[in-house]
Amino acid sequence: MRLYAAVAVSGFRRYATYRVATAAGVFTNTVFGFIVAYTYIALWNERPHLGGYDRSQALTFVWVSQALLGAASLIGGGFQEELQERIRSGDIAVDLYRPADLQLWWLANDLGRAAFQLLGRGVVPLAVGALAFELTLPTSALTWSFFLMSVFLGILVGFALRYLVGLCAFWMLDGSGLSLLSVLLTMFFSGLTLPLTVFPGALGDVARALPWSAMLQVPVDVLLERRHGAAGLGAALGFQALWAVVLLLAGRGLQAVATRKVVVQGG
């Protein structure tokens, strides 16, 4: 376990070395936050209580999205491209002979990255948003801690999804199409484009049941205290945890198949 802790610390430090990139990320997130915020203001003026949010809650949704953009890899980034590249170039051989578990290694690495990006790229945009607009942020420390727990589970789900996509590089020489598809699905079904509560009927039900909603929609609803009480929180966090377990296990399965393919067929 100490190995993976060390890997996570290294993942954190890796991203921490690039200060200019971090500053650029913060700047971009903040600018986009303003653009989307004004779009939402226009939308919510036209249709108040769209998706069950009032204007302030909708703006909170915007700024939390920007704060989580890097940490939860809502528009890509993170380890997935690196994993694909290592598979494509054969560098994965180095990872395979190490006495360490491939999935745990990458997970630890990605959690380190996410922790850095949550602090480095998350705090400032949210603070700027809170200063510039009237946001609905909870006063209860308990809600904040449930929110962080939900964010953590969302990051796990995001990792598990992207690990599956990354492993496909064992079968596909060019994974860029699949990566693009993955980013589009994430952007839409996480709620980044519009909160999933806005979608009506069956589309909304399906969107809210898919794993991507665990990455953004659920954490925001926990923060907005729309999921509250033991039952509400239990259902929200349970939903995320269930998807995390299912997808991580699927990743292990796919990893076993991929490793066998490499080991037996030479990739």
Binding site: R13, V262, G266
Partner: protein, 324 residues
């Protein structure tokens, strides 16, 4: 090699890949590629062996099987009594691997951080880790590099960093896949000297693949040559000359310009340049009778004997095989 007690043992090891190729719009053709086609060898503990062959001969495939990341299609393979592909993780703690063209180091972080991870990964006790790191730093001249991010290192520095990373956990076996590729003369010399020390002092068994035959000449008493997935030679470096039918060259300076010397048995003229002539004779034969014969019949001023070039020998070996 007789019945040596093998630390690394291969018996009839094969690796066959299925390659699928597009043949027409939808039809796929399956083709078998025998990357390793029945190899036997044993390497006793503490030996340093060169493993050479042209590109695509099966060297890296063999190394991958020895680390357990590839399973042999047939045959028996043991490293330290362990079947690598079955117990890859257990074996990993006892072996070190350096792929010259790949790196285990973390690109964005200082060298020291990567070593910290190696320490955790192999659960190296503190005192041993410190001692090993100190030794590597001293011998590989890494002192000034420990706090430099790996992406800023030169190729030679990175390679030295990678070799150190492979040795921190005191592996009993070290596989080196082209450890001197792309290095300048000074870096190569440094790496070779270090490997010689490790082998002599720690008794580490070393299997070395390379395209640089100077590596082999300077480090290995024994060399194995693989081509088209088969061992075509296994023995001492000297024996390679006999097998490769290599020739030594006698260079003679005569008093004056004369027609080519063609009446000395066992030698044939290959070049004439004024009073200097080059005579080739089999590397396995003694130079003495040829020198005597020349001295007896011609006005000899000076002479020298040139040893065969190992690269030529091996080039001829590869060429012979591909002609088959």
């Amino acid at each position: 090699m007789g019945r040596v007690d093998g630390f690394i043992e291969l018996e009839g090891v094969e690796k066959v890949f299925q390659v699928r190729r597009r043949a027409g719009l939808l039809r796929r053709e399956r083709r078998e590629v025998r990357a390793v086609d029945g190899i036997d060898f044993r390497v006793p503990r503490g030996e340093m062996v060169g493993y050479i062959g042209p590109n695509g001969a099966g060297k890296s495939t063999t190394i991958k099987m020895l680390t357990g990341i590839l399973t042999p299609s047939a045959g028996r393979l043991r490293v330290a009594g362990i079947d690598p592909s079955r117990e890859r993780t257990r074996l990993a703690r006892r072996i070190g691997v350096v792929f010259g063209q790949r790196t285990t180091l973390w690109w964005d972080l200082p060298l020291r951080d990567s070593y910290g991870l190696v320490r955790r990964m192999y659960r190296i006790p503190d005192s041993r880790y410190r001692a090993n790191l100190e030794r590597c730093v001293e011998l590989l001249d890494l002192g000034a590099l420990l706090d430099v991010p790996v992406r800023q290192l030169s190729l030679g520095q990175r390679m030295r960093g990678d070799i150190a990373a492979a040795l921190l956990h005191d592996p009993e076996v070290l596989y080196l896949d082209e450890p001197t590729i792309g290095l300048d003369v000074v870096s190569k010399a440094k790496v070779r000297e270090f490997l010689r020390d490790v082998n002599a002092e720690q008794g580490t068994t070393v299997l070395l693949t390379t395209h640089d035959l100077t590596d082999i000449e300077q480090l290995c008493k024994r060399v194995m040559v693989i081509d088209h997935g088969r061992l075509v030679y296994d023995g001492g470096l000297d024996g390679l000359h006999a097998v490769g039918e290599s020739e030594r060259t006698l260079v003679v300076d005569l008093e004056r310009e004369l027609p080519p010397i063609d009446d000395v048995p066992g030698a044939r003229p290959v070049k004439v340049e004024g009073p200097r002539q080059w005579l080739a004779f089999p590397a396995t034969r003694s130079a003495a009778p040829i020198v005597a014969a020349v001295a007896e019949r011609y006005p000899l001023v000076d002479l020298s004997v040139r040893e065969p070039d190992i690269e030529e020998v091996i080039a001829r070996m590869y060429a012979d095989r591909s002609a088959l």
